[in-house]
Structures are given as structure tokens and as C-alpha cells.
Symmetry: C2
Subunit: 201 residues, 2 copies
């Protein structure tokens, strides 16, 4: 049986990765969303155990000590981590797992999991990126400027990924990611069993 | 502008690559089929300049001397070659080019063009492969046995390709190849211009 795909989707702040990932999960019912843990405060409408596990700095440090993270990183003064629990289990059962993580986190996972599928979302333009960061409404002018400059720097890091998807419309971005999933399943190194089944009588 | 994709589709004898490629060309009107040259005799229904350029051994050797081939190889005593003419031109215009070539030829192209997309078609089973080789009706028992054994050996070479597609039904195989095309267009190394356009004011 083919192992599941470890799909890592990230992008600069304000690129709309949350919306794209939500749509992907709606369209691919078998895709398992790996919920990250964070020490940041929940935004309006966010629920513990749904968007994130919202935990304290103390809890976070304990999880680090217990090696419960595939990766973790500090972003804008908050800690974010990917609990490894269940990820490997699902992959071994042939199920695909989606990690929606920030760029630092993705770079860390890349080192540990070269067999992952790394997708970088780009905003259609810098104006659009600026609008989206402003649109969140939760940022002060200083936070906005810091996020916008940081986002521009982050975009350049996207070149280290395997795939880049322009998030012009959510529908088009989701279609491209679905093609990437289908294509990755055809990679020769994920299909050694196909050759064996065919050639072993 | 993004360069076109050099799509190389091959597979063991009797895998049905001709049918799959024909369907691909019907469904993707912009895909350019690079017609190979061969010294073998046309089969019933084949037309010079459509399936192949049917040329003499002397002409073939002259084309070799004039460096008109991207690759050439001898298969079952006949010469087959991929004329380079127009391929580069189309790729530079951003058009995708399809090469439907035998395994030896594909391995030669791989060395010269690591940026190509190499897709290996597998038959659904050895029985099916045997039926398809028999079904051609043009082979003597000796030719059949030689082709069948050779096809089994060729299948193992498929592991050197990037992608493998099981040709169970033509429709499913064509869908997988279309996903591979879409995914390859998202590869970061084919999209450096996207980053530049976004980051250069």
C-alpha cells in the first residue's frame, strides 16, 4: 500500500492559506488536518481544538521536552508547533495529512521529512497582500507595517519549496493543489510496490 | 513567460502509449506532438508525416550527421529518432511538447534534458500486456515471445522515470497525466518570474 502524502501548505502572512486549506478539507473528505498548538491568544471565532490547540507557554515547553512536536517555532513572539501525534499513524495507513504551517515551521519540517510535499502560496499582488493584512482589522499600524515587511521577506523564502501556487482565486488555487496531490501519487518513488506487484509472479 | 513543458511519455511495448497520447492530444489542443522519424515499415493505417516520418536508413544516417536528432536509438532492428526541429522553438514560445518515445530514447533525452517531465506507462497486468502484444496481430510467435520478454525487462527500467501511470483505463491515465502537467507548471523552478514580478516594484 502507498503511504499517505504529508502535504505542507504555507505562505507569507496574509496570503490566504487558511481559506485555501479550509476549502481543500471540504473538498477532500479523506484529508486529515493536523491541528497545530500555539501560545497565542485565540482570535474571535477561533475554538480550542479546532483551529489550534491553545496552550500556555508552560504546557508548550513541556510538549517540547516530551518530544511531542514534529517542529516548533516562534513567530511574532508566539510559539507555534506541529504535534507529531497521529500524523505518522495516518500516513502509515495511507491517509494524506495536511499541515498548514508558517514558513519557519515548514523549513524545519523539510529537513526532517524530505518526502513531504511542500506548497507555497503566493498572494496575487503586493496590493492584495496589503489589503488582506489590513482586512484582518486586529492589527495596529505598527503591527501592520511589521507584518507587511515581514511578508515581503517571507515571499522570497518560497523559492525553497517544491511548488508555488498563486492564490488569485481560492477555486483555482484548490484545483492546482488537487493536481499536485494527484501528480505526487504518481511519483515513481512512491510506487515501488506497483513495479513489484507487476513483475513478481 | 514560463517555458513550455517537454513531456516524455513512454512505456514497455504493448502498454498502450499510442492510445493514451492520441487522447491527450485530442483533449489538450495546445499540446504539440513531436513526430518521430523511423526506418521501420509503416503499419496498416499509418501515414508518413502523421504517426512517423518514414525514412530510409540512408536518410536517417544523414539526419544523424546533420545533428537533426534530440536522440535516436535502434529498437528491434529499426532506427527511431526525435527530430529536434521545432521542439525548442515551441518550448521557448511557452508551448508544451509531447514526445512519445521508446525507453532507450527516453533515457537518452533524460541525460540531455533534465528539465523534461518523464512519464512511464505501466500495463495493468502482465496478462493484459500479453493480450495487447498478441492483439496487434502483426507478430509471429517468435516475435511475440521476444516482445513479451523484452517488455518485462523494460518495465523495470521505468523506475528511472519521475512519474508512473497505470494504464488501466485510457480515461484515468489521461486524467493522471493532465494532473502531472498542472503540477509541473506549479514547480518553483519553473516559476522564478512569479517571485520576481511580485517582489520587483
Amino acid at each position: 500500500m502507498q503511504k499517505g502524502l504529508l502535504l505542507v501548505v504555507s505562505g507569507a502572512s496574509g496570503t490566504g492559506k487558511g481559506t485555501v486549506c479550509k476549502r481543500l478539507l471540504m473538498e477532500i473528505s479523506t484529508l486529515f488536518y493536523s491541528i497545530s498548538a500555539t501560545t497565542r491568544q485565540p482570535r474571535t471565532g477561533e475554538t480550542d481544538g479546532v483551529e489550534y490547540f491553545f496552550i500556555t507557554v508552560e504546557q508548550f515547553q513541556q510538549w517540547i521536552a516530551e518530544e511531542k512536536f514534529l517542529e516548533y517555532a516562534e513567530v511574532y513572539g508566539n510559539l507555534y508547533g506541529t504535534p507529531i501525534h497521529k500524523v505518522e499513524e495516518r500516513l502509515n495507513r495511507g491517509e494524506d495529512v495536511l499541515l498548514e504551517i508558517d514558513i519557519q515551521g515548514a523549513l524545519n519540517v523539510m529537513k526532517k521529512r524530505p518526502d513531504g510535499v511542500y506548497i507555497f502560496l503566493l498572494p496575487p499582488s503586493l496590493e492584495e497582500l496589503s489589503n488582506r493584512i489590513k482586512g484582518r482589522g486586529s492589527e495596529s499600524p505598527e503591527t501592520f507595517a511589521r507584518r507587511f515587511n515581514s511578508a515581503k521577506n517571507e515571499i522570497a523564502i518560497g523559492k525553497k519549496y517544491q511548488y508555488v501556487v498563486l492564490n488569485d482565486t481560492v477555486e483555482a488555487a484548490v484545483e492546482q493543489i488537487k493536481s499536485i496531490i494527484a501528480a505526487e501519487r504518481c511519483k515513481v518513488n512512491r510506487n515501488e510496490n506497483l513495479f513489484e506487484n507487476l513483475l513478481t509472479p
